[in-house]
């Protein structure tokens, strides 16, 4: 200690302390700082964000604001995550055509690459649900029966027994789930688009989402079977009643007219 105290008034002492302090903070920072994503400016991710931002300013900014902060015409996109963008733009709902009760599904105008860029940009605004991987949405090995039970408990009250869709108040509706891409079903559950409540992994774990996807695929897709014949829209007694009146009773009345018109030319006895 003697040596130290003897040299503490040395003209260079302050410089040495400063250097030590800087080295310590720098070293500590290097040791504890999160492995930064912002470190490299020329990565693919950063390029995607840049491209996404350009697409965003053309297609989205007029309603959602120049920085995704939201305006009176559209909600803020901070924290909605890439899954929300992939769902909304990937199903053609966004960009919206016009304001209304609900933004309908329509023709997709962006390529998947562009959608990914938009998603990257929106995700960069704040953390949120991310686009699921192929394995996450795969119905393979999922429990269809369990999925059906979950579907009837959580989804059927708006989307109907087998996901044919249904009406909500004032022109809003729950869309049909027929042949919807499993990824989009997953993202919808994850993000809760428009009037739909969200089912994050905390309330509905990934496995349950996959069960539901498997159930929808079994009962309401191009490959689902209808053992009874035409499913008449899968809408239940209303379409069945219409069918019974028009084709059932209609055919029988036509037959009755035919029978009555062909009367016996019996001889008078």
């Amino acid at each position: 200690m003697k040596k130290l105290s003897a040299r503490r008034r040395h003209p260079l002492a302050a410089v040495v302390v400063l250097l030590l302090a800087l080295a310590a903070t720098g070293g500590l920072y290097a040791a504890f700082a999160p492995a930064s994503k912002a470190q490299a400016d020329d990565t693919a991710q950063s390029l995607a964000i840049d491209e996404g931002k350009k697409l965003y300013s053309v297609g989205c900014a007029s309603c959602h604001g120049t920085g995704g902060q939201g305006t009176t015409d559209g909600p803020s996109l901070v924290g909605v995550g890439s899954a929300a963008v992939d769902f909304q733009v990937g199903t053609g709902r966004m960009p919206a055509q016009q304001p209304g009760a609900q933004v309908p599904k329509k023709k997709v105008i962006y390529t998947q690459a562009e959608i990914d860029q938009l998603a990257a940009y929106v995700a960069s605004l704040g953390a949120g649900p991310i686009v699921p991987t192929k394995d996450q949405v795969s119905p393979d090995g999922a429990d269809i029966a369990k999925g059906g039970e979950l579907f009837r408990t959580n989804c059927a009250q708006c989307h109907n027994f087998t996901g044919e869709g249904g009406a909500l108040t004032k022109g809003k509706y729950a869309p049909s789930l027929e042949d919807v891409d499993p990824k989009h079903v997953y993202e919808a559950m994850q993000t809760g688009p428009q009037n739909m409540p969200s089912f994050p992994d905390t309330t509905m774990p990934e496995q349950q989402k996959r069960d539901i996807i498997a159930y929808i695929k079994t009962v309401n897709s191009a490959e689902s079977e209808t053992p009874g014949g035409l499913k008449l829209g899968g809408l239940g007694p209303v379409s069945e009643g219409l069918f019974a009146w028009i084709f059932g009773l209609g055919a029988l009345i036509a037959v009755a007219v035919w029978v009555a018109a062909h009367t016996a030319k019996a001889k008078k006895s």
Binding site: A156, G236, A264
Partner: protein, 549 residues
């Protein structure tokens, strides 16, 4: 009958030659059942030919089909609410807990030979049965076939329709699937809305709190035994009365109130009716083979904590559904008790609308005061007020029906659910009035057209140019047959109360009911409510050339 029997046996004895086997069997049966007299009385029974007289047959045959297929279903259905775990052949239900009723319905659909087809025939036939009864009832209504002596038979028919509704409803509830369970819950809600007795009836019916473990077994007895038993009895009575009264017919040359023009029951109508039965069975079977109905496997087992959108009853109960859906959720809370008007008013309206059509024949006979028998049918246009009333009733029914399917109207026509509800709420009152007025005007217009045709003949479509340049269309006079048909109907005169003051200036008291009757009668048969049919004098005057236009 007996003479015929003795004659044949007498003829057979001397030659010691046996009568043909068929004849011997018939003789044997006659000795025990008296079939000869029955056959003699009924074999030559005449039925008139008209397609609309076969609507009731559609209902009758679909009822038979329902009984036949229903018997097959009872062989495999387990009316039990015991909980089981499914391990049948339908994969999306593997390992799901469900009632035995639901599991056995899945088995009928997937593991019983022909089960699904028979189930679908049963259900389609039920929808067509009710639809057939409905149009048959409307045919009877619009042609005035309910008039004396057929008022009781009208009531029998009406009861068959109402019982058919409830038989259908109990059948729809049996599989214990999510849709039917929702329907049963709906019904329980309606029962609970009844003041004072509601809770007691509910507890009695379900053997405790809903859903309990009893209702499937109870509904099963009601569905396969109680209601069909009553219906079968009513049906037989209905048909016996049709035989007893003889069939009605439309007016035409040679047809009077005292005869029936048509073909005999045997052989013509036996063949026709028998053939028609198979045609009905065929059409229903084809529909059942083509189109799925009530796919309970897709609907899932009932659990009171689950519900689906688009939960509607079968069409014949859609009327009740609509009333509930559009009714505002009013309720009155008094002294700790709640009167749920939002459900109770629809429940009452449901009964009222049905009752109105049931009592109509009695109202009409009271207004006309007509005590005679009527076997000649009215053309709907010649009873404008009745026709307008019927159309108003159907309009009411259809408008409420729209309310019952409001969600599907909303999704399929891109409308707001709320707008549809408001449309129904308004047109439930306005619609029938508009329909009444419009129908009456149309009927009167058609009466005028008939009158025009009788007096001036049929428009031939041939245009003639007269020497001075005028163009006229040539009218061809109608033949006597058509003239008869168009003028065969009789027209009532409105009831008069008579002077309310007698010759001494003393006011006479007229009972309120009589005043009402006179008013209604004026509405039916008063000056602007029917077009007086052409008289012979008018016809002669015009056809003699004086009044030619």
């Amino acid at each position: 009958m007996s003479t015929a029997t003795t004659n044949t046996s007498g003829a057979a004895a001397p030659g010691n030659r046996k009568a043909p086997a068929g004849e011997r069997v018939a003789d044997w049966a006659d000795g025990r059942l008296g079939i000869y007299s029955l056959a003699k009385a009924n074999m030559r029974k005449i039925f008139p030919d008209h397609w609309s007289f076969m609507l009731g047959e559609i209902a009758l045959y679909s009822f038979i089909i329902i009984i036949l297929t229903g018997v097959y279903l009872t062989l495999f259905f387990h009316p039990s609410m015991n909980e089981v775990v499914y391990h049948g052949s339908y994969e999306p239900m593997q390992g799901i807990r469900m009632s035995e009723a639901y599991a056995s319905t899945l088995d009928i659909s997937f593991d019983v030979r022909g089960g699904l087809l028979v189930r679908q025939i049963h259900h389609w036939a039920a929808l067509i049965f009710l639809a057939g009864m409905f149009v048959h009832m409307m045919r009877v209504f619009f042609t005035g076939a309910f008039r004396k002596p057929r008022e009781i038979n009208w009531l029998f028919g009406f009861l068959l329709f109402v019982l058919g509704m409830f038989t259908g409803f109990t059948g729809y509830s049996l599989p214990d699937d999510l849709l039917s369970g929702t329907g049963v819950r709906f019904t329980q809600g309606a029962i609970l809305s009844m003041p004072i007795v509601g809770t007691y009836i509910s507890m009695f019916l379900f053997g405790g709190e809903f859903p309990g473990g009893d209702f499937v077994a109870r509904f099963y007895s009601i569905h396969i035994l109680l209601l069909p038993g009553i219906m079968l009895g009513l049906l037989v009575a209905h048909l016996i009365l049709v035989f007893y009264h003889k069939h009605t017919q439309f007016a035409g040359p040679g047809r009077t109130n005292k005869n029936v023009v048509g073909m005999p029951l045997l052989p013509v109508y036996m063949a026709k009716a028998g053939g028609f039965f198979f045609l009905v069975f065929g059409v229903i079977a084809v529909i059942a083979a083509i189109a799925s109905i009530n796919p309970i496997w897709a609907i899932g087992p009932y659990r009171p904590d689950q519900v689906s959108t688009g939960a509607q009853p079968d069409w014949y109960m859609g009327f009740a559904e609509g009333l509930i859906r559009v009714m505002p959720g009013w309720e009155i809370n008094l002294w700790g008790h709640t009167l749920v008007l939002g459900v109770f008013i629809p429940l009452m309206a449901f009964g009222l609308v049905l009752a109105i059509i049931a009592v109509y024949p009695f109202v009409e006979s009271w207004v006309t005061g007509d005590k005679r028998e009527h076997h000649i049918l009215d053309r709907p246009r010649n009873a404008p007020t009745r026709t307008a009333f019927g159309v108003a009733w159907i309009t009411e029914y259809v408008i409420v029906f729209i309310g019952g399917g409001n969600d599907l109207w909303a999704t399929h026509f891109h409308l707001s659910l709320n707008a549809i509800s408001w449309f129904v709420r308004i047109f439930i009152f306005v619609g029938p009035v508009v329909a009444f007025i419009v129908t009456k005007r149309i009927c009167l217009g058609l009466q005028r057209r008939d009158k025009e045709k009788v007096l001036h003949g049929r428009e031939s479509g041939i245009i003639k140019r007269l020497p001075h340049g005028e163009f006229v269309e040539i009218h061809e006079p109608l033949g006597p047959e058509q003239l008869h048909t168009l003028t065969a109907h009789e027209q009532y005169k409105p009831v008069e109360i008579g002077p309310t003051v007698d010759e001494n200036g003393v006011e006479r008291k007229v009972p309120a009911m009589q005043k009402l009757r006179a008013k209604l009668s004026k509405g039916y048969f008063g000056e602007h409510n029917q077009i007086e049919k052409p008289t012979v004098e008018e016809y002669k005057e015009i056809t003699s050339g004086h009044g030619h236009h």
